[in-house]
Structure formats: structure tokens, C-alpha cells
């Protein structure tokens, strides 16, 4: 794993979710990601993915494009669904057939532009490229947002809540709220980023 990512995650391992209905391809990808230091959760179907994924709980999602016969369950639809709930999580979409279908390629281009995702075509070095792209996307994330996510995640996993004047609020909900809209998270974290960058300048 790249040093910059290791430093950011300190004692934690970055978490990847690999969604692919082809068990062989899924395991190969998962094995390579584990080899790079990721903690990997495998999902064989969209339903399984929807059960386990929550905003802020993974550092990268790797999804196959063609997941089932039902087009509603393809990887591009998963990306759209993920982006509705989490505007920031790195997403790598994988396919072996895409270049043969121009229409799909156009759809994909629009999707990637809007969805902040990468596309990897299967084939020679395909799995290596998936891992490289996953690391690229993680490296490019806003460091303040990533730090907040990593800090809250442990509490969310432990089921922690905070008492408020309108009932208990779980850290899972707090993460989801933070990642729902880019404008909201920017509004909250921009002042924090400014403080951090000022401090970094003073220290340097």
C-alpha cells in the first residue's frame, strides 16, 4: 500500500467492498486488495451489498458492471444508488464487455464524470489496475473529511449514540448525514480545513 495512505489510516486498514457475482473474479480481486493491506468484504449480489453497506463504512467500492440479467441490478445502478447516499466514497466500476458497446460507453462516461468513479476494463493487468485506481481515489479524498470519517467509524461500528435535545442520535446516522450532500459536508468541514491548513503552514 502507498505510504501516504498508510499514514492517513495509521493503525487501521482501509476497507474495501468487492461486489461481483462471479465468485472467481471476486475472490481474485479481493485477494489482491488484501495483499495490498486492505480489509475486504465480498458481496455476491446487489442485495447482499445493500445489506452491509452504509455511508462512511467503506473506503472504496469495487463493483462489476454486469451483475445479473436484470439491468436494474448492474454496477452503474449501484453507483447511482451509492451516490445518492454518499457523494464521496471512491468507486471503481469493472467490466470486460464495455468497449464492445458504444451506447454503454457513452452512459458510462457521463456516469463517471458525474459520479466521481473510475472504470477498469478487465483483461491484462485488470486486477492490478483496480487496486491502483482504488488507491488513487483514496489518495485524492479530502483529508479532513477522511479523518472525520475514520474517527467516527469506530464509534458507528460500536453502535455509539449521543444524547441530543431531540432524542438519541447514532454515529451511523451522523456519518450518513455528513455524506449525504457535498454542500452540507463542505459547509461543516471547510472552517476545519482552513484551521488545519493554517496550522500546517505555521508548523512548516
Amino acid at each position: 500500500m502507498r505510504e501516504s495512505i498508510s499514514q492517513e489510516f495509521a493503525s487501521h486498514k482501509p476497507k474495501a467492498v468487492v461486489l461481483d457475482d462471479n465468485a472467481h473474479a471476486r475472490r481474485m480481486t479481493a485477494r489482491r486488495l488484501r495483499g495490498r493491506g486492505f480489509q475486504v468484504q465480498e458481496c455476491g449480489s446487489v442485495e447482499e451489498f445493500q445489506k452491509i453497506w452504509r455511508p462512511g463504512m467503506a473506503d472504496v467500492i469495487v463493483a462489476d458492471w454486469q451483475l445479473a440479467d436484470d439491468e436494474k441490478k448492474h454496477g452503474d445502478k449501484v453507483l447511482i444508488d451509492v451516490r445518492r447516499k454518499d457523494w464521496d466514497v471512491p468507486f471503481v466500476l469493472v467490466s470486460g464487455k464495455l468497449s464492445e458497446d458504444l451506447n454503454r460507453a457513452r452512459v458510462l462516461q457521463a456516469l463517471l464524470d458525474e459520479g466521481g468513479a473510475r472504470f477498469v476494463k478487465r483483461g491484462e493487468n485488470g486486477i492490478k489496475r483496480i487496486c491502483d485506481d482504488a488507491e488513487d481515489l483514496i489518495e485524492r479524498r479530502d483529508s479532513t473529511l477522511l479523518k472525520v470519517i475514520l474517527s467516527l467509524r469506530a464509534g458507528a461500528e460500536a453502535g455509539l449514540t449521543v444524547r441530543t435535545s431531540s432524542g438519541e442520535k447514532s454515529l451511523v446516522d451522523q456519518l450518513a448525514e455528513l455524506l449525504r450532500k457535498p454542500k452540507d459536508s463542505h459547509d461543516v468541514l471547510r472552517p476545519v480545513s482552513l484551521v488545519r491548513s493554517k496550522r500546517a503552514k505555521v508548523q512548516s
Binding site: 472525520v148 474517527s151 455509539l160 449521543v162 442520535k169 459547509d187 476545519v192 484551521v195
Partner: protein
Amino acid sequence: MATYLVTGAPDVSPSDQNVRRSGRRVRFDTQVPNRAASAIRAGRRYVIIAHGDSEGTVFWFRSDLGSSVKWMWVGMRDAPRAARVYLYCCHVGPELTRFLKRCESFGHCSSVPAPVDEAEAIVLDYLSKVDELMRRNTFDAGNWRKELQDHVAQRLSDELDVGTSVRSISTWLMLGNSLRK
């Protein structure tokens, strides 16, 4: 010095004790009149810690009734006047401050942590900044928001660097989130 009016709601207990222990003047539960206009007097300054909703309604829990009643709301006839009111209540800020035109009022747009458990020290620190603003001669909601956001940003940044506690980060983040416009 601002007076703190604290609801008697059991789910945010012992907010009153924690705030009082920090040296602030507190009126709690049944010590606060049913009519907000009687509780909030002209020319005085108040911080209200109570339940609220996004329609701009503040609910007051009274232990003698064993339930909450609408205490301040958008459209109430007998609204407080000429006082400075800091609404430390969930969600009520945007609607209620717009309605309380005859007061100097400030509120939050989403959930705020109660000054209890691990959030106690953080909320009391935040309220120290609120007290400082409340003591000033002038009121400017935009400027207050900016100063409070900066205060939260400083503290959140410290917590992120030190990484002391998940709950601390969560609490500061919640406060920052509630100060959005």
C-alpha cells in the same frame, strides 16, 4: 449574565445540574412559567435548553404534568419581546428566529448535543463562547454564526489531531452541523 432555562425532560437529565455546577444561573422544569412571555422578560438575556422541532416549536417538559407542552412556536400570539434569546434546542433555529422579530434570537438548524455524559465538557465549553456573545452590547446573527463556527472548527481540529475520543469528535461535528445556514 444570561439565565439558562432548562427543560425538565428526563432524556436530557441532568443537564440542569451540569449547567448550574458550571456557575451559570439556571431555572429548571417547573421553575419556568408555562407562558414563554412570562419566563422571558424584556431587556434580559436567556439561553434555552429544551426539545425542539423543525417547524420552530420549543417543547417544555414539566415534571408535575409528566409530559411536554408547546412552549414557544411560530404564530403564537403572546410571543416574547425585546429580550435576547439563544435557542439551544434541536432544529428550531431557522423558523423560530424568523418569527421572533421583536427579540434578538439565535438558534440551531439540526440536532444539538445535550450537556450530559461525555458531551458535558464540550457543550459547556461551547456555551462559554455563547455566554461571551450574549454579554456583548450588539447582536449580529451572521457574525455570531461565523464566530461560533470558528470556535467549533478550532476545537474539532484539535480533537482530530489528538484523536482523544470518538464521542468528542462526534459532538463537535454535531455542533458544527447545527450551525449551518
